[in-house]
Symmetry: C2
Subunit: 218 residues, 2 copies
DNA sequence: TTTAAATGCGAGCAACTGCTCGCGTTTTCA
DNA sequence: TGAAAACGCGAGCAGTTGCTCGCATTTAAA
């Protein structure tokens, strides 16, 4: 029926019978993903070694490959986990009511949790920012990009219903990239995080205000 | 006295005697850098193979390593070359007079050549965007970042002399990152390049206008 | 012309890395 | 309880990659 961890279908091939994971096995997978997050955050995707990930999790390479087809699959699973956590943790930031807030309030509600998430999960940022894996891991990155894009697009639709969809999509994409452009500053910030955050909001506010207005739509 | 291609000094060690390059040798170096630019653009830094670079230049690995200490040095030389070209080609975009233009004109003068340069030199973008090499190649990336930062900072100083230096530096850095954030869209754009460019300018205009005003300082 | 330095080659080394395979242990389930 | 399945190990394979080394050729200087 289905395959765990994004199993892929090969032409003319029935999907491999899904392996029945025991509680112990699922725990190991989680541990391996935790370890992978650490190593990816430290060395990036290409710099990370599957042996190192296994060792970090206190497991052997053989064990790792019992749960993940290959290195790429590890990153994919990790990204899937992040996307899931992002949805559940910050779906509230994009609740319908948010679209009715004044622009500055809205930005607070959207930006603050996102920054907190990125800073709490450096591997998420490392994988997203790494262009090496674009061809192979595009499939893993895309959902994460989608999450942000779609929700911002939805907010824009609520705020500026008259904006043509193409223009709205462009605006949403630009907004996402503006945010991501400042992420390096946000990630490196220490004492000056509040200032950098304020500047990020200022930039987004300035860009979005002409398109959707300062206040809520009447 | 000095060492070619960013020779480094090791503690308690006299710099290696600089090698006297012949015209033939300098030409080979240029060819190798051209080849490196192609391969870096196609595969990124880690994905690029020194053997592939040598082959692309019609040279052997041994020849390559006669001119470059190691793979990292290739990227460093290439970045140095780009920084030099950037300075000479677009120094005009940052001429003193530019600071006296209205903001939108100023952005045209600064942004258009930068976009043209980035699109003409994909390896430049590939190396700048690649986070893998951050630790090792930070030294090679920094000058490139500096070029943009310092000049924008200079413009800001001319336009808003009353802005505290710390605040001005932050604004300049944010502006650079906003630009870089939209670079992926700019690089991938085909038909819609004009729209993306316009959006980039819109964003920068909106962010900078409050700080330095629409028109030239009186 | 002589000679030392610069250029050039390419087989191949040493190290690394993703991943496998054989085998032993633990858990599930009938 | 017994077998099948899941879990676990780690030595090590196969492939890759940055880089070297011995040697040949070309060029610059004396």
């Amino acid at each position: 029926m289905f395959i765990e961890t994004e199993g892929r279908f090969v032409t003319g091939d029935t999907p491999k019978s899904p392996r029945k994971r025991q509680a112990r096995g699922r725990k190991r997978m989680a541990e391996l993903l935790d370890a992978a997050a650490e190593v990816f955050a430290e060395r990036g995707f290409t710099g990370a070694t599957t042996n190192a990930i296994a060792a970090r999790a206190g497991a052997s390479p053989g064990t790792l490959y019992q749960f993940f087809e290959n290195k790429e699959a590890i990153a994919e699973s990790l990204m899937a986990r992040y996307v899931e956590r992002l949805r559940e943790a910050h779906g509230a930031a994009f609740a319908p009511e948010v679209a009715k807030l004044p622009l500055d309030r809205m930005l607070d509600r959207v930006i603050d949790p996102l920054i907190a998430f990125d800073r709490a999960h450096p591997a998420f940022y490392a994988l997203l920012a790494d262009p090496d894996l674009s061809p192979e891991l595009a499939g893993a990155k895309r959902p994460a990009q989608r999450v942000m894009f779609e929700r911002i697009d939805a907010i824009l639709e609520a705020r500026a219903p008259d904006l043509p969809p193409a223009k709205r999509a462009l605006t949403a994409q630009v907004a996402v990239h503006l945010f991501r452009g400042l992420l390096p500053l946000v990630m490196d910030a220490t004492d000056d995080l509040p200032e950098v955050t304020a500047e990020l909001k200022r930039a987004l506010h300035a860009y979005l205000a002409p398109a959707i207005g300062e206040g809520p739509p009447e």
